[in-house]
């Protein structure tokens, strides 16, 4: 099946070439970081995690969101999603790969990475994160490939794949729960020390992931002869809407607890993110407002069925959801937890150019994987004559 990834038109190869170029630049920058040290990033003693871990966190959510397609199809027999389960699974493969790469580029000593396996430490959440992420990657590659192979042969998926599919559903929830636990169990980091962290992570994942999937489906529809289907995209739109409202609701719950209790240690981080700090120009402030403006606007566009069912408006709303959740989770969440620091000092963080290029390189790697896999998937679908949506 893989050979289908190597047959394509001019536009396909231009896309692959551009992604390859970005990956190349990112890789060279990573070699530079490998030689000089993580000091080339904007991170430091006080904000010791930055862009990389932020992207990691965001993309774990995108990966987990595959379950929003798999679950209705396999547990509720919602037949329409049968057309796009493989697209959701392949998106998850790209996203998990990016997660693992972001961890890799964030490590001070990547050559020692294997120590996590040589000295397994079950009391560390990172140990479990390693297990669930690699397991999820395996499950999606295994399931996606087998189901697509069966479809190509015109036969139903083998029976023995079913247990793996059922396992992948709670497994998807687990990857984002465990990722939330990386943050939510640290004493002295008040911004993260909240039981609502895992639910918030899941809700933002279940709006951001399907929003990206909608955008990918629309791109597939436009650039190939395979139509993922109108009903499929509509249902995804409803999922985005519910999850987005839930995400904003949980954020407001957090705001209530923090500001009604008026505990200074808890309020500081929100003050810093949304109002900056006396005498400090904080570049994050307008971004945070933008994030919540995007999410609010997206809710307004998504709630009325008339606008939600309009493909153009849905596209805009999905872009807003992606931008809003990305700033909130991929940037503000990590940085906001570190500022003020445990000594209640303000130390700002902003990514450097090499850091941004490495980040872009990892994103390009993920999109390269998604492009190759989508090429395979759409070619197979067309081959078996599933081009037009019913």
């Amino acid at each position: 099946m893989l050979e289908k990834a190597f047959v394509g038109g001019r536009k396909y190869w231009i896309l692959i070439g551009i992604l390859g170029g970005i990956i190349g630049v990112g890789f060279i920058m990573w070699l530079y970081q490998f030689r000089v040290g993580l000091g080339i990033t904007g991170m430091g003693r006080d904000v010791s995690w930055g862009f990389y871990i932020g992207q990691f966190t965001y993309l774990v959510g995108v990966a987990a969101a595959g379950v929003m397609v798999v679950l209705p199809y396999y547990l509720h027999h919602y037949k329409a999603f049968g057309r796009i389960t493989v697209l959701a699974e392949f998106m998850a493969i790209g996203a998990v790969t990016m997660c693992l790469l972001f961890i890799l580029v964030d490590l001070g000593n990547p050559v020692r990475m294997i120590n996590v396996i040589l000295h397994p430490t079950p009391n560390s959440v990172l140990f479990w994160d390693m297990i669930v992420l690699n397991g999820y990657l395996f499950l999606n590659v295994f399931i996606g490939w087998n189901v697509l192979s069966a479809e190509r042969k015109g036969s139903p998926p083998p029976h023995w794949i079913k247990p793996f599919i059922y396992l992948s559903i709670p497994w998807a929830i687990s990857i984002h729960t465990v990722t939330a636990y990386l943050y939510a169990g640290l004493p002295g980091r008040h911004f993260w020390l909240t039981a609502v962290m895992a639910p918030r992570f899941l809700s933002s994942a279940f709006c951001a992931g399907p929003a990206i999937l909608i955008l990918l489906c629309l791109i597939v529809k436009k650039t190939t002869k395979f139509d993922p289907g109108k009903e499929q995209i509509r249902t995804l739109g409803s999922i985005v809407t519910y999850a987005l409202i839930l995400n904003v609701f949980l954020f407001l719950c957090e705001l209530f607890t923090v500001f009604y209790s008026q505990i200074p240690g808890h309020m500081h981080h929100f003050h810093y993110l949304f109002f900056g700090h006396e005498g400090h120009v904080v570049r994050l402030v307008p971004l945070m407002w933008l994030a919540f403006a995007c999410m609010t606007a997206a809710i307004i566009l998504l709630v009325p069925p008339v606008t939600r069912r309009n493909e153009g408006i849905l596209t805009v709303a999905c872009v807003l959801v992606v931008i809003g959740t990305w700033i909130d989770k991929g940037f503000g969440l990590v940085v906001g937890g570190f500022v003020p620091n445990p000594l209640e000092k303000i130390v700002d963080y902003w990514p450097t150019v090499p850091e941004a290029l490495i980040t872009l390189g990892v994103w390009a790697t993920g999109f390269l994987i998604i492009s190759l896999l989508y090429k395979v998937a759409t070619s197979v679908k067309l081959e078996v004559g599933a081009g037009e949506a019913s």
Binding site: G37, L38, R45, N109, R112, V125, P342
Partner: protein, 295 residues
């Protein structure tokens, strides 16, 4: 540190094992096993540093200082900036702590802070002006229930069972910095850049590390105060405590830093805790620090 060996390592470094670890061999002429260990990322001899603490060369049995639970009392009343600086200097010299100008890349094991930053939430607007100015010395609290050890995915940071010291195996650390996120006291530093001198950039004052007996680090590992485990093994008290005794004596003050066994009712530490009102940093978090402050 013979020139010959250094030369040998230099040639070996260029010819066989690439460039990454060569500067280390260049600079200090460390032993080939240590060098190999650095090169291979620590997992071939993962216990190197642990052994360094447990069985230091030249240890005469019975000479080591031992305790069931080491603890420190910082008597801030006896501190002034000069004494505090002497403590920091002594520690950083003994442990080859590199000096980076950029505050983001700063590495510190023991340093001065103001009251409001050491005990956030305890300050108020009518507080004694003198208290505000006092140079509080802060360091790793060697918590009885350390959050950093809980989160470490490789046990590179661990609490030593026999005496409660929270140690770092800098040969095992993968540099994920989870411990830095977990530490509620900001006591941990990361080697954002290469901590040893390379051609043309002297991170240490001279070319050699100040203390050839203590290991230097690779980039990308976390480090922090170790309660001078390597000195205790040789029967010496921590460097900062020694420095505070000297500096305080000169000024006719009582020692500002006192070190001892918390489990021994007759230890100096216990006597101070009995006779003074003491506080610890962020006790509400339950990490149970072993560093006490007399304010």
């Amino acid at each position: 540190m013979g020139v010959n060996r250094r030369k040998f390592l230099k040639i070996a470094g260029i010819s066989t094992l690439g460039v990454a670890a060569k500067p280390a061999a260049d600079a200090f002429g460390i032993s080939p096993t240590e060098w190999l260990d650095q090169k291979l990322g620590g997992f071939t001899v993962p216990e190197t540093l642990f052994h360094f603490f447990e069985k230091p060369a030249g240890l005469v049995p019975g000479e080591a200082l031992t305790a069931k639970r080491w603890a420190m009392v910082v008597n801030v009343r006896e501190l002034d900036e000069e004494i505090a600086q002497a403590c920091t200097d002594a520690c950083h010299k003994v442990h080859n702590v590199p000096n980076f100008d950029n505050p983001r890349h700063e590495i510190k094991w023991i340093w001065q802070e103001e009251y409001e930053h050491v005990f956030p939430g305890q300050q108020h607007e009518h507080i004694d002006e003198n208290l505000k100015k006092l140079p509080f010395l802060v360091m790793c609290n060697h918590c009885f229930n350390p959050p950093c050890c809980r989160v470490c995915p490789t046990k590179a940071t661990f609490k030593r069972k026999k005496d409660g010291i929270v140690l770092m195996d800098m040969h095992r650390c993968i540099g994920c910095r989870f411990c830095m996120a977990a530490c509620p006291f900001g006591a941990r530093s990361f080697n954002w850049l290469i901590p040893w001198p390379r051609a043309g950039e002297g991170k240490f004052e001279g070319k050699e590390p100040p203390n050839p007996e203590y290991p230097t680090r690779v980039k990308g590992v976390v480090e922090k105060c170790n309660f001078c485990a390597e000195r205790l093994a040789k029967g010496q008290i921590p460097a900062c405590v020694e420095a505070s005794q000297k500096a305080c004596k000169k000024k006719g003050r009582e020692p500002a830093l006192v070190f001892g066994d918390l489990e021994d009712p007759d230890s100096e530490v216990r006597q101070l805790l009995r006779s003074n009102y003491t506080v610890r940093r962020k006790p509400e978090l339950g990490s149970n620090p072993n560093v006490y402050y007399i304010v």
